[in-house]
Point group: C2
Chain length 131, copies 2
Amino acid sequence: MNTAKKHSKKRDAILQVIRSTDCHPSAEWIYNQVKPIYPDISLGTVYRNLALFEQSGEVVAIATVDGQKRYDATAATHTHFICECCKSVIDVETPQPFAEMYKALKKEHGFKADYHSLTFYGKCDKCQISN
Amino acid sequence: MNTAKKHSKKRDAILQVIRSTDCHPSAEWIYNQVKPIYPDISLGTVYRNLALFEQSGEVVAIATVDGQKRYDATAATHTHFICECCKSVIDVETPQPFAEMYKALKKEHGFKADYHSLTFYGKCDKCQISN
DNA sequence: CTAAAAACAGTAACAGTTCTCATTATTGTT
DNA sequence: AACAATAATGAGAACTGTTACTGTTTTTAG
């Protein structure tokens, strides 16, 4: 009777692509990866499913680089390094006590923070050499 | 002989608007503020000067909210709270030792980070009440 | 096998931003 | 004060990432 989510091969492929890379891809990048498998896939399908994944929390939008949203399928919030030269988005570890900051935000401002995003910007190792 | 930057009243007004607010405005918001002062200003001028300010470092793009870039004229890197409900971007203080993270990025990955961005997402005090 | 509707391809529409070009404002020089 | 030279601008076209629409295909339950 009510809207039941149906299974879809293309949706699976899209999620598979996002999960099997650590490059934090854009919609277009994902589209180009799925295309060889399903040559008739539409870019709209990628966007539509990305929206669904975002809603369900399976995928999260971590940054906008050069006007393009970049996605990540990793569950835990973590830190990123964005190279302003080659535009790559790279995972990095941060052993930091953010829990205290969440408490402070609530206590001092009354803000209820659900998650956070920490991103460093600069030049990655490769771009420092080549430029 | 070479390209000398000329003075411009409208550029001044744009920077003034960004400096005199703490709402981390979008290009359109800035445009609407400058319009009463210079009714013939063009949105293109705002974008053009924002690009110049970004280059010179006088203004920094701190986030993209609902597809719109948001700007900030504050020199020092600081932390923001973005309310996902009313889309407001609010400054918050974070007494955190990020200097160590910069060192670790260089040591462990070879990344030369120039600056960082820490943003918390959630519901601000007002939106918690009204929703 | 059939029928209801979710998912889709293809494409048009949309929004934020950038680009183009003719005009205006600024600046150094007479 | 008038004069180039050229930086800055307004208006609007063009571009780009994303979303919406429509008719068709695929999935799924009975």
